[in-house]
Symmetry: C2
Subunit: 318 residues, 2 copies
DNA sequence: CGATAGCATCGAAACGATTCGATCGAAACG
DNA sequence: CGTTTCGATCGAATCGTTTCGATGCTATCG
């Protein structure tokens, strides 16, 4: 930039102002600087230097576990999409932080942690030491982090009560790996059905759910309703039930969680619809506020139970 | 770091060496420096400053179009996963560059462009001006970029010949939006079936494919085989055909592309298996080489036709 | 007409590291 | 014992900006 300034016959500071516009510069001067830049093939201020000066990198890390599994979950995509949308609008980039890699040495302005499951996480100490704002979505409680959470327990309890109202007393639940949402939802279920039987844990995956619930039935498991931790799991349970000659919801009620589209099914699931995009937006907004140095309140997003065609009255004889 | 150096009673340069290890430092000195850092709560060299000095940001951009659509495609994920794996191993971060946002001002060491479709792309000029290496995966020809491509035409021609050998003469093809792979594959099909009828374009999406091919049949379209541009599309065509009482492959042969899992189907598709992960690895390796300043050859990856249960001999009477 | 603003511009000091070349002992060598 | 070598350490330059405070200079005001 010093060459450009020299060529334009102005000082370095003026050239900088001509590019950044942080202070007024006469139109004529600006044109001269821009012309000089064009002539010298100068593409504008070097981002690395700008970042050092500003003390910001313009990059926000998003911890998502292993990519291939994180994005296979249909609930993850709308969330990440919303995060990206809000951050991009603020001029910030989104950097993927797969698990396992420590990502030390990358300058991050903030980090969003959205791995459901991981209780210990390598980068945490480093982030704290560096004072990097951390926003945790549905994760374990860590000191210093801002939390965005969803009313898992409430949603799960709503479903549990719905089933109870339909007469169900033998309820089983297909669980995920231990994680914050999983625990909350199980607690919500037990608020109504204290002795619900646990199947699993199994992954949030069509085939895995089919296998898990199939093995449970094979082992003599019985229930009039199965509460799942995701709509994908629920779809798997419905398919497996039908394969075994059970009609849903006549012989078996099945409930899901998330409220995503289930193209594998001709049935609308009874489920807990969570505001996926809003979750992402809330996380991104929290990041922006914390980068701006503001104190940010934790966010708890509401959920809404949607009664679909996968739950019905308990069968007369079981 | 100067405080740490002072506290440890060494010079700034020595403290730097103690952290980076770029030159030998006596063990005793290093320990003193690290101890001082611990006492002062210094978390290590500031990445922003390091980056400015090194002239690298350690971040590689990946252009993927709109997130929500890019990752819905099951062929995209293994590729991105492989990219991330190779780059992470090299200590580089992966930054998502959704389309539309210009991402100016972010310091990127290189960019991988993998949007099938976009012919014009905002950031291109800026990247060229800044001399940022660009690796294009299955994209249009741009000066200065390194190319990673797949033998689309060859694969499509293999499928076309397979159908021809089975006796098919009335072949239709369900197309994607105009894009490099799309054009290549259509050319491959026409190498064998010059007058194949075109359906679409439609998105690589189960429902979209069902609607498109359904509308085509409703409009009087007829063929003994439908060649699709993705396995997802092919699955949609199979489902729609069955819904209309056609048996696959007895009444209709359907071919896909990609070689991904199709959990919606009880059938293994005849398709063209492309090396998705290898595509990502090749792109990432190309990035690493170009960052290192090496001259990199374009890569053309082979494909393999897999004959599954979705294609069969042409029906006796049509 | 003198004091006060206000605007454009400039010089210089950060920002926080890495690294080249120099220095200084001590060890190795003949 | 004098000389070369080597390893550890240090000083200073550099990376390329942004921005604070100062300096003229020209309108504006009373």
């Amino acid at each position: 930039m010093v060459d450009v300034a020299a060529a334009a016959g102005v000082s370095l500071s003026t050239a900088s102002l001509a590019f950044s516009g942080n202070k007024p510069v006469s139109a004529e001067t600006r044109d001269r600087v821009l012309a000089a830049a064009g002539a010298l093939g100068y593409a504008g201020p070097n981002p690395l230097a700008r970042n050092l000066r500003r003390g910001r990198s313009g990059v926000v890390g998003v911890a998502v576990g292993r990519l291939s599994t994180a994005f296979r979950d249909p609930a993850a995509l709308p969330m990440l999409d919303a995060v990206s949308e809000v951050l991009d609008a603020a001029g910030l980039g989104v950097l993927l932080m797969p698990d396992g890699d420590e990502h030390a040495g990358l300058p991050l302005d903030a980090v969003i942690y959205d791995i459901c499951g991981c209780e210990t996480w390598g980068p945490y100490d480093d982030l704290v030491a560096r004072g990097v704002p951390l926003v945790v979505v549905e994760g374990p409680a860590w000191p210093g982090a801002t939390y965005v959470d969803v009313a898992h327990r409430r949603g799960a309890a709503d479903v549990a009560r719905h089933l109870h109202d339909l007469g169900h007393r033998r309820v089983a639940t297909l669980t995920l790996d231990p994680s914050h949402p999983q625990r909350e939802r199980e607690a919500g279920l037990r608020d109504v059905h204290p002795d619900a039987e646990v199947i699993g844990p199994c992954a949030s995956d069509l085939e895995a759910a089919q296998r898990a619930v199939g093995a449970w039935w094979d082992g003599g498991g019985a229930a009039t309703a199965v509460v799942c931790q995701s709509d994908v799991q629920a779809a798997g349970v419905v398919l497996e039930a039908r394969r075994r000659g059970m009609a849903v919801p006549h012989d078996l009620s099945v409930a899901g969680f998330d409220g995503v589209a289930t193209p594998w099914l001709d049935l609308e699931l009874t489920t807990v619809v969570q505001p996926l995009a809003e979750k992402g937006r809330a996380a991104a907004r929290a990041v922006l506020s914390r980068i701006a140095g503001e104190v940010v309140d934790d966010v708890l997003l509401p959920v809404r139970m949607r009664v679909g065609g996968s739950t019905g009255p308990v069968p007369p004889q079981v």
